[in-house]
Symmetry: C2
Subunit: 273 residues, 2 copies
């Protein structure tokens, strides 16, 4: 999917919501556990109930890997289900990968070719040649960690490197990499006041924003400081939507929560455009 | 496996060699491709031919994920084969994971519980709460990236943060994390002169050292600057060993290459102890 196609979907749906699929078997309705593939069945129900309210799904790869081969099967079924039934959805493999060049190439192959995701999240620590193999894929997007939503973000990301904080240096440096137009960035919603400075470095890039809801970030604050004239934001919500209910009505309740966020987004877009 | 048990194996085998299993179907002997699980068959042959010369195997998870479900099956069979047949081997899942706490917990579960690896490699960018979930597992080890062997290591890892290079700050900070005694670190062999400073910060920790061989690092140089009085090094070689031959004699040739390294290590250990 191209960035332009993503933007068209956002305008069409009046939503820049991404639903995170972090499926923990301990948190899903217990009646699903009797089915052959509870993870996939849960995802399918959530997707069917919310696909018109969001523009993106973000399976969190850890939550599949934790279940071994069964988890990987559920991941493959989930991404295939989205691609076959809702091809206009922007899919994100939340994997935080990154390694030396030949290894990053294999991860890129795994997520872009074998699983056919539109994008994958990567970590910047190993630098240019650990990220460029992902960037080489046309019409695929590489979403690099810049400033994350967790407490540990302050351990290294905000350290001062020559007058700049590390995450700003990461943003700045990455702009010089080959095919950097395929980059997007992870910026946590819990740090809304940082968006102004980030937008000075990457005014046009899409930012994937976790941390709204369960982690405490405010949607309106993020939009105030982070939105650009082409929206430029994908706001992720995982637990707040998918675990809205643990009962038989879980998909319906997930839709209610997604609808609330979509409506808030629609209002913000109407005010701004 | 405890650190003490690993040290005993090193003394017994007179080797601190780790063999990296980066299995690319384009690089293995073509006759294996006719078998049902060529990746596992290749690994099994390499393991059977080298297990007495090395103390560790390091499956590179990307090379399994790139083959989807089949790859994950091959990974599971490979780790099970090692654990069942060579339980004294220290196993490393080379995965470079790291995410917010609840997600890192799921990765830890994947590699420590579901697959039963002794250790996993992680990236430090997201800080303390992205690594501590791995450290919480008793007798399991978390091998964190410090200074890597690739060109991109100089993009961020060596930036000056308040008088210290970032990788040194990463080492220093990590020592205060809960269960930090379960930490080991990745330090690339291509930067042997850096080991002196690293040993001042983490004198006792094991260092996993990639980059000897194919990437150009020198074993004797690394040992000169990086070895401590309990060895403290695991030297990885992947391509130099497993792709020593692309013919029917691949396992035999792999053994020859592993033997060369083991003998060099034996000489170094005899000189030093």
């Amino acid at each position: 999917m191209t960035t332009q196609q993503l933007l068209e979907q956002i305008k069409l749906k009046k939503s820049f919501l991404c639903v995170g699929l972090d499926v923990d078997l301990n948190k899903i309705p217990q009646h699903l556990l009797a089915l052959e593939d509870p993870i996939f069945e849960f995802n399918k129900a959530i997707i069917d109930a919310t696909h018109d309210l969001c523009v993106s799904y973000k399976p969190n790869i850890a939550f599949f890997e934790a279940y071994g081969i069964k988890g990987w099967v559920a991941l493959q079924k989930t991404i295939n289900y989205i691609n076959e039934n809702y091809p206009d959805i922007f899919t994100i493999a939340d994997a935080k990968r990154g390694d030396i060049g030949n290894t990053s190439s294999m991860y890129a192959k795994a997520f872009f070719e074998d699983l056919n995701f539109d994008s994958v999240t990567v970590a910047p620590y190993m630098g240019k040649d650990s990220v460029e193999p992902f960037l080489a894929f046309e019409n695929k997007h590489t979403i690099m960690l810049a400033l994350t939503s967790n407490e540990g973000a302050f351990d290294f990301q905000t350290l001062n490197v020559g007058g700049n904080e590390l995450y700003k240096q990461v943003l700045e440096t990455s702009k010089s990499w080959k095919n950097s137009e395929n980059l997007m960035y992870v910026v946590g919603a819990t740090k809304a006041e940082y968006f102004t400075a980030i937008r000075q470095i990457v005014p046009d890039s899409f930012l994937l924003v976790p941390g709204v809801g369960a982690q405490g970030g405010s949607l309106s604050e993020v939009c105030k400081y982070g939105m650009n004239d082409k929206i430029g934001l994908l706001i992720n919500s995982s637990r707040g939507i998918i675990y809205a209910s643990k009962e038989a009505d879980f998909a319906e309740k997930a839709r209610e929560e997604a609808l609330k966020m979509q409506q808030e987004m629609q209002t913000i877009m109407a005010d701004k455009f």
